[in-house]
């Protein structure tokens, strides 16, 4: 039963529940305007700004006919005056039917779900979790490959700090994936995440050269490498150009290859890739709306 569930961490939903959300999302993609939440209020609480995620959630709520209340930056609210998260959540949960929240501190969403009287969807808590991003990634993989099973996925860039990578690796461990991990030495996937792969009896391969994996994979999941992640700025200068995906690198690829990116992109995918049939990142962002519609509607119990 997804009704009344919180979605804080990707492990809060079972594999079957994920698949169910993906099916419902596909239905919303066919027919996005379904006014199922006419008499509902969705609270959108962004304690730190994240324009893309907020717009995606609010579009989803609007397409379902819900009214949206909230704030896009805690700077202008009582939070700034020192109100505790607990008090804010108790108050808002007495107004709204569901809370979508983004917060700069790790664990804030879990705590909110424990004091809220209505379900909470985590739209990102610090460096911890961002489960709806993971679900839209799964939806995009499913859509482009026709299945989630037995795929070869390359994760490229900052695999150490990229929380979207950690969640997606963990989720894909349910689907017999083979993982190709491409990163500079300093930004390799943490051992705690590799542990999930090992515990699932799956295989991963590590590379520093992006060109090596391109011909063999079904999905390339690109992420941004940030200068501030390097202890030695010289290291950054050395590697910064090695993880940029260019049109010229994509001449010999599998037919079904698709390129994903959680966005925003800076320069890690050059713009000459955008109009190739492999580029899927803008459609991936659009998919976020359908997945969030599916989540809002299922958790509020208006769609099975």
């Amino acid at each position: 039963m997804i009704k009344n569930k919180n979605l804080i961490s990707i492990t809060d939903f079972t594999k079957d529940e994920y698949l169910k959300i993906l099916r419902i999302a596909a239905d919303f993609e066919k027919n996005p305007n379904q006014k199922l939440l006419n008499d509902h209020v969705v609270a959108s609480l962004f304690f730190e700004p994240s324009t893309r995620t907020r717009l995606s959630f609010e579009t989803a709520a609007n397409r379902l006919g819900a009214r949206v209340i909230g704030f896009s930056d805690s700077g202008s609210t009582s939070v700034k005056k020192g109100e505790s998260l607990k008090d804010t959540i108790i108050m808002v949960s007495s107004y709204a039917d569901i809370i979508v929240m983004r917060h700069p501190k790790d664990g804030a969403a879990r705590w909110a779900s424990e004091v809220s009287s209505v379900p909470v969807i985590n739209a990102g808590d610090g460096a911890n979790q961002h489960p709806t991003q993971c679900m839209l990634d799964l939806y995009s993989i499913m859509q482009t490959q026709g299945t989630l099973d037995n795929l070869n996925i390359a994760f490229v860039g900052d695999l150490k700090y990229g929380r979207t990578v950690h969640s997606l690796v963990q989720a894909m461990c349910n689907f017999n994936a083979t993982f190709h991990l491409v990163s500079p030495e300093e930004l390799k996937l943490p051992s705690s995440v590799k542990m999930h792969i090992k515990n699932s009896k799956l295989t991963y391969h590590q590379y520093t050269d992006l060109n090596e994996v391109i011909p063999n994979v079904d999905i390339i999941y690109m992420t941004r490498i940030q200068r501030e992640r390097f202890s030695d700025p010289m290291e950054y200068e050395k590697v910064k150009n090695s993880y940029i995906l260019k049109r010229s690198m994509l001449q010999n690829v599998k037919d079904n290859l698709k390129i994903l990116h959680p966005l925003p992109r800076v320069n890690e995918i050059s713009e000459d890739v955008d109009n190739m049939k492999e580029a899927f990142y803008f459609k991936q962002a659009e998919n976020g709306v359908y997945v969030r519609q599916a989540l809002l509607a299922s958790i509020l119990g208006v769609k099975e």
């Binding site: 961490s9 501190k105 790790d106 664990g107 804030a108 879990r110 610090g126 460096a127 911890n128 979790q129």
Partner: protein, 153 residues
Amino acid sequence: MDKDKRQLNVSAIKDGTVIDHIPVNNVFKVIRILDLENKNNQMLFGDNLESKKYGRKGLIKVQNAYFTEEEINKIALVAPTATIIEIKDFNVTAKRDVQVPDEIYNLVKCINPNCITNIEQIPTRFNVVDKQNMKLQCHYCEKFTDKDNIDFL
């Protein structure tokens, strides 16, 4: 003088609990975890005592106090080797070991400075993911705290 007579003499209690085989230097932590500072029971404690089993040990005797299993299991973090001996009328009536609990509630600080529990007044919660090595996972931020980094609230 023979060896036995040189040992610190900790007198017997009539009714109460003896917590034996506490690792050296952790006696005060056990006192804190069991909140003995705020109780009015008579209490004796010793540290660096000789132990046949462990070389050196700490020990606490509390008069007229008994502890639930839940209370005792809280000391697993600092005294996994402890033995709990209940005494009634100078006789040992029960003896048990400490069991590492599945969850540690409001006892340990989260190692992650960005964790919400370090920002707001929230009771901490950890799942014990590895009982052998006392590896804890924060229920909120999901970060791991190893045995060596355990810091009490």
